[in-house]
């Protein structure tokens, strides 16, 4: 079963992409509801996105 690691890495990248998309969308919603809190929301969004991104990259390098 050669090449399955690439399929796995691809799945993880899809998951990471969906996750970061969800975070971005939710942050947009939150900013639209409370524009005065946009600074804090952006910070929290970046941290969460960075954590997910780390997993995505780890998968890329493991493959």
């Amino acid at each position: 079963m050669e090449g399955l690691n690439y399929v796995g890495a691809g799945l993880i990248v899809i998951g990471a992409g969906l996750g970061i998309g969800k975070i971005g969308g939710s942050a947009m919603d939150a900013i639209a509801r409370q524009p005065e809190a946009s600074g804090k929301i952006q910070t929290a969004m970046l941290i969460a996105a960075a954590l997910i991104e780390g997993i995505g990259f780890a998968a890329l390098f493991a493959a």
Partner: protein, 384 residues
């Protein structure tokens, strides 16, 4: 607005529709494609036999990319392939092998010659850019996977990355010394280049350090947070200049930075931090036993993800920009140059954003980890 946009849409659609014609129906470029393809196969076959030098344009671009992301023992700005002349300067090589061997990397003549020092012979391997011990003829023995089996001396050389790090550290030192000095002279008003950095310093203090670490403890971490932010930021930015520098895109350097964060976090941790790892408060007792190994793993995963994130972002950015510039040489048609120029320009702008973002994220997460190491005893109070 809508009307003025429509012709643009139309033009864009026409341009995209004719794009394949320009590229693929062009007979001259078709033949070159075929030639490069066959040459590529020949080169691959040759590579398996005797590690031949790359001949066609695709493998040349690949070799260039591979060479760029590796560290080097000399600082080459650019090379003339026809005359074989390299524009740049050599750097010192320091090896620990039968005593200290110190010589200039110009002895290697860009990896083509065997260097001799006090009766020991060394050669730079083309594939990983590392120095191996060898005999006078420069023989390299390889195992089945193509890794050299020669002895590697312990290498303390001032390589390209080390050289750039020293330069950047000196630059940061003098810029911020000037900023600090200008406060004393002008009555708390920053002067000169310090005016650019003052808002960044204040931002790190007010938006990163204080909210994450807390008023009480943030001061002792400020020096580290500021150093790491500006060090990573400057290295990311010099990586975008055409000098061919790739320091933060090298995993050993990001590993060093992550290990510093790891050491500082764990050495300055209080008992609440360790309590949260080994005996998590506020969860049922059986769960605490399950959580302890997971939390302990987390201690190591945190700096590991810091290392991977910075390295992968910068490395991937460099590779993508170079691939797009490489398209210019592969397309060989009038569309190639503007297309790759435009894409490379837009991506470079994106990379400037990434340079700031990654420096920010590294500092931010370091501050977050320091904050967790200094957490006060407030969980029980919140429940009562």
């Amino acid at each position: 607005m809508v009307i003025s946009r429509k012709p643009l849409h139309f033009l864009a659609a026409v341009a995209i529709a004719f794009l394949p014609l320009v590229n693929f129906a062009n007979p001259t470029s078709d033949t070159t494609q075929v030639v490069t393809q066959s040459a590529h196969h020949e080169a691959e076959a040759g590579h398996k036999e005797a590690h031949a030098e790359p001949t066609d344009i695709k493998s040349k671009i690949n070799a260039y990319k591979k060479h760029h992301v590796l560290d080097a023992h000399d600082f080459t700005l650019f090379s003339d392939h026809e005359t074989g002349y390299h524009f740049g300067f050599p750097l010192p090589v320091i090896l620990l092998d039968n005593g200290l061997q110190v010589f200039s990397s110009s002895k290697f003549e860009h990896g083509e010659k065997v260097a001799e020092s006090n009766g020991n012979f060394y050669v730079i391997n083309h594939h990983d850019g590392k120095i191996y011990k060898t005999d006078a003829a420069g023989t390299i023995t390889e195992d089945a996977k193509g890794h050299p089996t020669n002895v590697r001396p312990i290498d303390f050389s001032i390589t390209k990355n080390v050289f750039v790090m020293i330069i950047v550290s000196l630059l940061i030192f003098f810029l911020f010394k000037g900023l600090a000095g200008s406060y004393a002279k002008n009555g708390s008003i920053a002067k000169g280049p310090g005016r650019i950095f003052e808002p960044l310093v204040l931002y790190i203090r007010d938006e990163i350090a204080i909210p994450n670490i807390g008023e009480k403890h943030y001061k002792k971490y400020m020096s580290y947070l500021l150093s790491i932010f500006f060090f990573v930021l400057f290295l990311n930015l010099v990586g975008l200049t055409p000098l061919g520098i790739n320091v933060t895109g090298n995993i050993t350097i990001t590993a060093g930075l992550a290990i510093l964060t790891f050491i500082i976090t764990n050495l300055s941790a209080n008992k609440n931090y360790w309590g949260h790892i080994f005996w998590m408060p506020g969860v049922p007792k059986p769960m605490r036993i399950v959580l302890a190994p997971i939390e302990l793993l987390g201690v190591f995963i945190k700096p590991f993800s810091l290392m991977i994130r910075l390295f992968a972002n910068i490395y991937a950015g460099h590779i993508v920009i170079m691939s797009i510039i490489g398209l210019m040489f592969i397309f060989k048609s009038w569309i190639g140059s503007p297309l790759s120029f435009g894409l490379a320009f837009v991506l470079s702008l994106l990379e400037i954003l990434v340079a700031f973002l990654q420096a920010y994220i590294f500092t931010m997460l370091s501050a977050l980890y320091f904050g967790s190491a200094n957490e006060e005893h407030h969980h029980e109070e919140a429940h009562h």
